[in-house]
Symmetry: C2
Subunit: 704 residues, 2 copies
């Protein structure tokens, strides 16, 4: 404990008054982190231990030993803060052999790992190079994300993440490969599990997200702001202890797939688990594997399970109690965390078993109390019901654009609070990590009882990666290119300017795609229906309306992408969304209820219909007296959308050229007066360097 | 003869001094043409005859009776010179049921033809409408192709074409459906065939093509200018007579496929022909079917055959004589025609059996002599060896863009000179028609003897319709869009401006596509090699170099296209073409001879190579000391061109974003110094309204 305490560290403040002092503070934090990391690997009993695959799906520890050093060089190279590699081979081999964020599916390539001595030597050279960078880099305060110091902190905090994940891997190594180490001493205290109980928590409203001007380093997923309403709930005073969980195990919980979620039941069948991952049973007795030893199951320590096991326990618990039992959401967890005002790095001593300030293991669940509730932070990470998502305003850091985005997929759940070995950024209030729900870390859970069986989590605002949908999202909500105005907005502006006598009660945006024109029309019209044939597209309009934002990734070059967010607030549509109604529908077979419009706008629709003449022959029935039909199209007829015999024009009729405008007149002349014809340009980005640049024709038709 | 002579007409001059007089002249020519056309149909013995399909592949005559009237209305509508149809149903049914220019492949739709009376009535209404147009249209002199009077002339001359083609169809009708008619009296004279002989013709040079300022109406294919050298040849004094051809028939010419061209042998096997189409044999005697009667074979009349039969005769003749016998080329025919200075409409009496000035049939081949050669024009059309093509400078008329272009396919041969029933434009010197080589008209041939077996015709400069190739032709040689400068030219201008110390002896344009940058480099470099992987593309550079022009059709809207011609002269490259050498080749496996360059320019090449690193790793070997490599690319990596593992960038390497520019530096840094990096925009037209707008990156590398 004493020796461990000597290297307790705090994540540095980004602020300060002395650049020189900050440089030294960063240097100290850097070397302390490297020392601490290497000290963990000192627990390995010999070089052989570095090459054991404790988990078939993970690299051996030699990878992680090299990886955190390589990360510094790779990110500094990417940021052009260093210009030469130290060892091209190691910097490739140790870079990324695992899809780290899916935490699965190791590639099967054969690795010709270097020796431990070579890796140690490489780590020394990296230390020296980073030390030089720290000395020489331009530095001003506060440190901001575009500063080289931010990249140094990124490397340090990255190593601290792997301090924890490596400790999890070591916990899976056979004990023969490990040796006692005075720095890594487990908590000696065990006892019977305390009887858990519930504490009532009042509903509240709070804002999630680390402020952009917070004074400590944060990962991209911590920033942004999201305000949530929380209903009252009752929360377990203690994390679920080994003792409390044992009752579930002994009640046959692992043999009753009906207690498990569907995903959980699949995992159970696959894994054939019968108890938590770090438990084992010999001669009728349960034991627990800690970092460096195996001990009789400490009943009063928190159970360490994955999310799926935690959920099964909740279902079993609900079955017992007849109430609604589940995990807290991230917001509920955050509300509880507010009872503790302190945060790293400001506290004098951690108010929980975290930051290596107390033990090199979990400790009893009744050690750290705040107003009748224990372990508000630390001891083990606490699973939540919340699939991780960026908060509104989320932006990736350009030098690490895949830290979080691959986890915004609805398959990764947030856990919060940190474990005994969470240090640096991991041990701060806003820190949030997410893993696949079947994954093991030093993680357990606390349960809550609520008044309904509804779990108050929102669907994940995942990045739209369908290339066509993402193209249209950028087209509607993204940047302007070649100085061409936003097309849906320009269409609406133009038609409003052209039609002075337009009644502005109800508008229909037919073929609304991802919805921009519908929102723009809502500035003027009291009610707007946005209809599109494709659910893939319209879901984004719907999501914008419901959640205020939507996200997408657009190709930059090759497989590289850029991440974007569209936000109602940023677009100036907040407060208008209730006027818009997004519905999936077929323009050629529209439900009778869609009628009584003053304006029907069809943006680039007609050359995508399977029977445009059928649509145009009926559309007048949907318009109010004096109503207008506005069409835009580049007349790009393609048989994949419209059979050739249904093309309105762009064909030979009786051997003569017959344009789409000819065809429109043919069909519409009897019911409409053609008021205007004009060109409108549009640009759709395909890659950073390649665009579709199109001149659509707008025709304005007044109902006769 | 007397009655026929009364309606002899001449195509009007476009020039004049009195607009009113010209209006009346046009009106008179219009009504005379209608009268003449209707007079031909008066030969039908009753209404039933209008509905007989004389040829299964052609419409019945009722179609042609209505068609020439409908044509006026359709073209006048298209030109917006009339705004209302007379009869929508007839104007559709009579418009085009046949691909007129392929003269084949009638569609199999069921036609519910109107009655003859209805059609006559419709023709009367059209006469009245066109008469009104002639009265009311704006008219200034001379008449030019953009004048409504030109459209009226187009309709008239179109009817005159069908006067002739309908007479061919009538010639195929059973005689019971025809009746004698005083206007359509055949030549009464027949006799033994004169013995043919050869006349020596000196070589010469002449220019083909109707001058743009010629004073009579012409079809699009007559204009343009093409200068040709003609070698000396010997020409048959007479058209081949029935008598002369009979020797071939009786020698078993139709039973010896080896005498026929490959196409001819296929046709022979399919048609099972044993003699010319209008011959027949009863009881050992040959007869010939004329327009309105069948007569004993007139041995001294010209034989009427298709091109394939004419060629087989020539091969047989060559076999007999041991010389090279073939048909004249269009140029050789034109050289002979120069012996006659007169042309319609200037002659007082036609110097040949043409323009209905002599007979309503062919006449003996020894009737019209000029300096020992007979029938320089008229009697029957004369097949040539020349597949029809537009002359350089060819442009379609916007109201009839498919009059000629579909025949520029290498499968339609020119015939010249007109027949006894060729009138109006057909009976002018520059008139040129083309039919499939197996087609029958009132056409025969004259043969020539030359000094080699080479037929001096050029490959047809057909319209490139491959959409991608045509896109690139427009990209290299076409219009500018969005104010973006021509890209290959801008690339060359830019690199020349960036590299002051460039040695300008030899340049390589690798990935030259259709060749513009190669030609542009030839302004500066003494020698330029243009190499492309794709023969489809490079053939156009080659063709430009060899023939001075190349043609392509680009999509406008839907299936509608626009026709374009690129010309060395217009582009200002004439005289430079000898500096350029276009070769098909593979950048990744270039022949050793391609070396010693001062500049290697690779325009938008590297992201289309199957192994760009292989290419870049060797390219320095091709450069002279102090030489430059210039690359441009939008870095649009696609697996269809480059396997993912060969992408130079746009990928994650060791988990980090790695751009193509990073990749280029990686490979080239050891041999080259990176001198410049800049952006260059380009626009590729897809349709009239849709474009690819791209920002390529240019990198300039100097050999170390």
């Amino acid at each position: 404990m004493e020796q461990l305490a000597r290297i307790v560290t705090k994540t540095p403040l980004l602020t300060g008054t002395s650049v020189d002092a900050k440089r030294e503070e960063l240097r100290r934090y850097f070397h302390q982190t490297c020392d601490l990391y290497e000290a963990l690997f000192d627990c390995l009993s010999g070089d052989e231990a570095f090459y054991i695959r404790a988990e078939p799906l993970r690299h051996p520890l030699i990878f992680y030993f090299g990886h955190t050093a390589v990360f510094f060089i790779n990110k500094l190279m990417l940021g052009r803060y260093v210009t030469e590699r130290l060892d091209e081979r190691l910097e490739s081999m140790f870079a990324i052999g695992v899809d780290e964020m899916s935490w699965d599916d190791l590639d099967s390539a054969h690795y010709d790992w270097p020796t431990v001595a070579q890796t140690r030597s490489y780590r020394r050279r990296v230390r020296q190079r980073v030390d030089e960078v720290i000395s020489q880099m331009p530095l001003s305060l506060p440190i901001t994300p575009d500063s080289p110091a931010w990249v140094v902190l990124m490397g340090i905090e990255h190593e601290r993440i792997h301090l924890e994940t490596s400790s999890v891997i070591m916990r899976m190594l056979p004990l023969q490969y490990l040796r006692p180490h005075p720095l890594w001493t487990a908590c000696p205290d065990t006892g019977p599990a305390p009887a858990n109980g519930l504490l009532a928590v009042a509903g509240d409203s709070l804002t999630l997200g680390k402020p952009a001007d917070a004074n400590t380093y944060g990962w991209d997923n911590e920033y942004g702001r999201k305000t949530v309403e929380i209903q009252p709930f009752r929360v377990a005073r203690y994390l679920v202890s080994n003792g409390e969980f044992l009752a579930f195990v002994e009640a046959g919980g692992y043999r009753r797939p009906e207690l498990w979620t569907e995903e959980g039941a699949r995992w159970l069948a696959y894994s054939k688990a019968t108890m938590p991952r770090f438990w084992c049973r010999h001669h009728g007795e349960y034991y627990q594997r800690n970092l460096l030893q195996q001990v009789p199951l400490p009943h009063d320590w928190p159970v360490e399970v994955n999310y799926l096991e935690a959920k099964a326990f909740c279902h079993w618990k609900a079955e017992q109690s007849g109430t609604f039992v589940r995990l807290p959401t991230e917001a509920e967890w955050t509300l509880l965390r507010q009872r503790l005002k302190q945060d790293q790095p400001d506290w004098l001593r951690a108010p929980g078993n975290v930051n290596l300030e107390h033990y090199a293991s979990p400790c009893p669940v009744n050690r750290f109390e705040v107003d009748g509730i224990y372990d508000l932070l630390g001891n083990v990470w606490q699973w939540t019901e919340t699939p991780i998502d960026g908060f509104p305003g989320f932006e990736v850091h350009p030098l690490y654009d895949d830290f979080s985005t691959p986890t915004f997929d609805g398959r990764h759940n947030v856990f919060k609070g940190g474990s005994w070995i969470s240090t640096g950024n991991e041990a701060t209030r806003h820190s949030r990590y997410a893993f696949r729900r079947h994954f093991f870390q030093h993680a357990g859970f606390r349960y809550v009882e609520s008044d309904s069986d509804e779990v108050p989590v929102e669907p994940v605002n995942s990045y739209e990666t369908d290339e066509l949908v993402a193209q249209y999202l950028e087209f509607h909500y993204g940047a302007q290119y070649f100085g061409v105005a936003n097309y849906p907005v320009a269409c609406v502006d133009t038609l409003l300017a052209l039609i002075p006598d337009l009644n502005k009660a109800r508008a229909l945006d037919l073929g609304c795609s991802v919805g921009r024109a519908s929102l723009e029309l809502a500035r003027t019209f009291a009610q707007v229906d946005g209809i599109d044939f494709s659910a893939r597209f319209i879901q984004h309009g719907f999501q914008l309306k419901e959640t205020g934002q939507t996200r997408y990734a657009i190709p930059a070059e090759g497989e590289l992408v850029e991440f974007r967010e569209a936000s109602l607030v940023d677009l100036g549509y907040d407060g208008l969304e209730h006027r818009v109604n997004f519905v999936q529908g077929d323009a050629c077979n529209l439900k009778p209820c869609f009628t009584g419009y003053d304006l029907i706008f069809c943006g680039n629709l007609i050359d995508r219909l399977y029977d445009p003449a059928l649509f145009l022959g009926q559309v007048h029935e949907r318009l109010n007296e004096g109503g207008y039909l506005v069409l835009t199209s580049p007349y790009t007829w393609l048989t994949q959308y419209t059979p050739k015999e249904k093309w309105l024009g762009g064909i030979k009729i009786n051997g003569e050229n017959f344009t789409t405008l000819d065809g429109l007149k043919c069909i519409l002349d009897c019911r409409f007066e053609l008021v205007d014809v004009l060109d409108l340009p549009l640009v759709i980005r395909e890659t950073r360097r390649k665009f579709q640049h199109t001149i659509a024709e707008m025709t304005v038709w007044k109902l006769k």
